[in-house]
Symmetry: C2
Subunit: 426 residues, 2 copies
């Protein structure tokens, strides 16, 4: 890391986007123009379509492939890690303080370095399938204690495999898109018939998600030792949940309408290469998993995660959760290996989310369900407001970063407001 | 129906594809050439790309839209029912015995009417999201009795909403693609650790599936009275299942790897217009559902369904299931209305499958799990073979048709063989 160059672009000290990060996103200028691929640097976006057309992104893997003037990262994701490394090296060099090609070409700088405030960020990928895991032991335990009691908190399978389910791909939305409170069927009184109406238990779930790069052929599993070669990078995910809808519908086939109204994804995809210096030990797995899930080396990522909430009458957002992705019990590689062990094919752009990330303390719980303990322990916000679940007008903002020595490699923010339910029943 | 014209194309008396049907599919000539959209008529495929280029499919909705020289039906599906009706009328006229434009143009007939035996049928749509419902009361009851006993067979929610879950879109395959037995984690002995290996309880599930035409905007539900306007047509679906993998993994988030290794879809999509004469009453719903799920008019479809099995040592396939889609408790319209009532967006090409269709008798059960009652009642096949679950080399063939007076409107066949598991563990 000592050889990481300085950049000529102004990067504030607390920026999530120093030259060591270089996350990818898809953006469109607010003033108009087609979507294209960019990299965040400081408070700017580096337009890779412009750089490629200027001949500055040529290399063994990238020459002539045309992956940057696109409305998604899928074409870049499909190229695989050697191409990603080449792109990272080329961009790092172009942004370096001692490299004149971009630095001293004012016209090119004006075209290629645009303020983040002047662009709209889009969903980074076309997602064929979205999978949501359940990989935080603390979260699974909290939910289990609430619904089944402390003696049966973890289901028998939980310590043997990364439990997951298929999510809804169509309702993935980029950060900034506000989310409407869903209507649905609930049964608040177990002795009475179900009711229809707006959810009264809308919640967030703090997660991270991995985008798949190259996929696998149907019928051909990905061995765990090769699993990370198939991961392009990570994002923050808010897996919005309607707990009352979910509770009534989910037996025996799992979550459906309680989740499928919206899932928010942060716009900047941080590559595994940028996260490499922050790898750390994951929790010890006891019992040891079956051989197809066994790994070596540091499987965790020391990634600080926070959730901030601002109600409609609050002057400023307040931090309500501070946790870390290192708490995740099941690793990214284990998720990929498990997902494909039956021959299921992952495709480029598929999203694998971690499930809610909770830590061991009350302050590190990753959902309101846990923070307010199913409504039993409402918590106080400044100005006297209390929350058990989300209210209309609440803005939920997630953020995450790896802390280096004097710098951060971060994900920026994932933020959206809760809109009131539609009144009319169709 | 009396005004349905005769066609000049030879149609065998027992054909599933008379002029009253005209199902759509996507095909590629075995001799080579790009995929395109066709219609089945008798033992031929009518190449709509050729007809459109000859100027024979012009009309208010279809002129100039270029929906037939495509690798999927999605563009046609997106146009909506007025365009589908126009296409149906145009094709019906062109195939009529008293219409000379195609009949008397030998060169055009040679180009546009090709034997089904000379083409490869592809997956009919690009499926963004695949949803699997659980809409057969008899199936849900059978499974419930087996796993929870007769007193708690149906879960409390089952009679109030069409239970469903998100399936895996990437592993949808067209009929004719053989399916490899999956490996995975199972726990045959509840007192011992889980094991890894090939599934020993591989099963089929007989289902029908609906392809979505025009979708809805995220946040805007589809009212039940408009629901069928969003359905392009139906196919047969074999929702292959690995019961031992499913049993161990599915608590609490539902089926995952026990299903995601493959789901087979029949190649010909039968339109709702072709099925209209076969609408029938669906089972009475008691308790009556909530208003957003209430319908009027005949909600069922009188659609005969069969499953045939041929083991590797059997000289011919044997029918093992005969049932009918009219048994389905929850209708297509109810599935669409429920799926979107929380604002979830359906997209063109999405597939909504019914769940296993079982009838009231033993012979009408739609899965081996039920036919052999979880292995407790193995059944005999000719030649002395017995089955509890599928064996390697077994060919499963599903078929379905609506029986008219002297004709059938059918789905053809959905057939695939079980390939042995890969021996190597990745």
């Amino acid at each position: 890391m000592n050889t990481t160059p300085r950049t000529f672009v102004a990067v504030p000290a607390d920026s999530h986007f120093p030259i060591r990060n270089l996350p990818y996103g898809v953006f469109r200028p607010i003033m108009g123009g087609p979507p294209r691929v960019g990299v965040a640097i400081g408070e700017s976006v580096l337009d890779l379509a412009v750089l490629a057309e200027a001949g500055l992104l040529d290399g063994r893997y990238l020459s002539g492939v045309g992956v940057f003037r696109r409305a998604s990262l899928n074409a870049l994701m499909a190229l695989g890690r050697p191409a990603w490394r080449e792109a990272r090296e080329l961009v790092t060099r172009l942004l370096s303080a001692d490299e004149p090609r971009l630095r001293d070409n004012q016209a090119l700088r004006d075209a290629a370095l645009v303020p983040q405030a002047s662009v709209e960020m889009l969903l980074p990928a076309e997602v064929g399938d979205y999978t949501d895991f359940y990989s935080s032991r603390e979260h699974a335990t909290n939910v289990g204690v609430m619904f089944r009691g402390p003696d049966a908190a973890l289901q028998p399978n939980w310590l043997h495999l990364p439990v997951g389910y298929h999510g809804r791909a169509s309702s993935l939305v980029p950060g900034g898109v506000d989310v409407r409170r869903p209507c649905g069927q609930t049964r608040p009184d177990d002795g009475a018939p179900p009711l229809f109406g707006p959810s009264r238990q809308m919640d967030f779930e703090l997660e991270i998600g991995a985008f798949i790069g190259p996929g696998n052929t149907l019928g051909e599993p990905i061995g765990i030792d090769r699993a990370e070669e198939h991961i392009f990078g990570l994002v923050l995910v808010n897996d919005w949940s309607a707990r009352d809808i979910q509770k009534w519908e989910y037996v025996p086939l799992g979550p459906f309408l309680g989740k499928s109204f919206a899932t928010s994804v942060s716009p900047w995809v941080v590559t595994l290469d940028a996260l490499e210096p922050f790898r750390c030990a994951a929790p010890v797995q006891d019992p040891p998993p079956l051989p197809y899930l066994r790994t070596s080396g540091p499987q965790g990522i020391d990634l600080c995660l926070e959730v901030w909430l601002q109600g409609g009458r609050m002057a400023a957002p307040e931090r309500i959760t501070a946790t870390n992705a290192r708490h995740l019990y099941w690793s990214l590689a284990q998720q990929v290996a498990h997902h494909t062990v039956n021959g299921c094919n992952l495709r480029t752009g598929d999203l694998l989310a971690s499930g809610t990330i909770s830590g061991p303390t009350r302050e590190s719980r990753g959902s309101l369900l846990e923070l307010a303990w199913r409504g039993a322990e409402p918590f106080e916000l400044p100005g006297g407001e209390r929350r058990t679940f989300l209210e209309d007008g609440d803005r939920v903002t997630m953020t995450g970063w790896c802390q280096g020595d004097g710098f951060r490699v971060g994900f920026g923010e994932l933020s959206a407001r809760v809109l009131p339910a539609h009144q009319a029943v169709p």
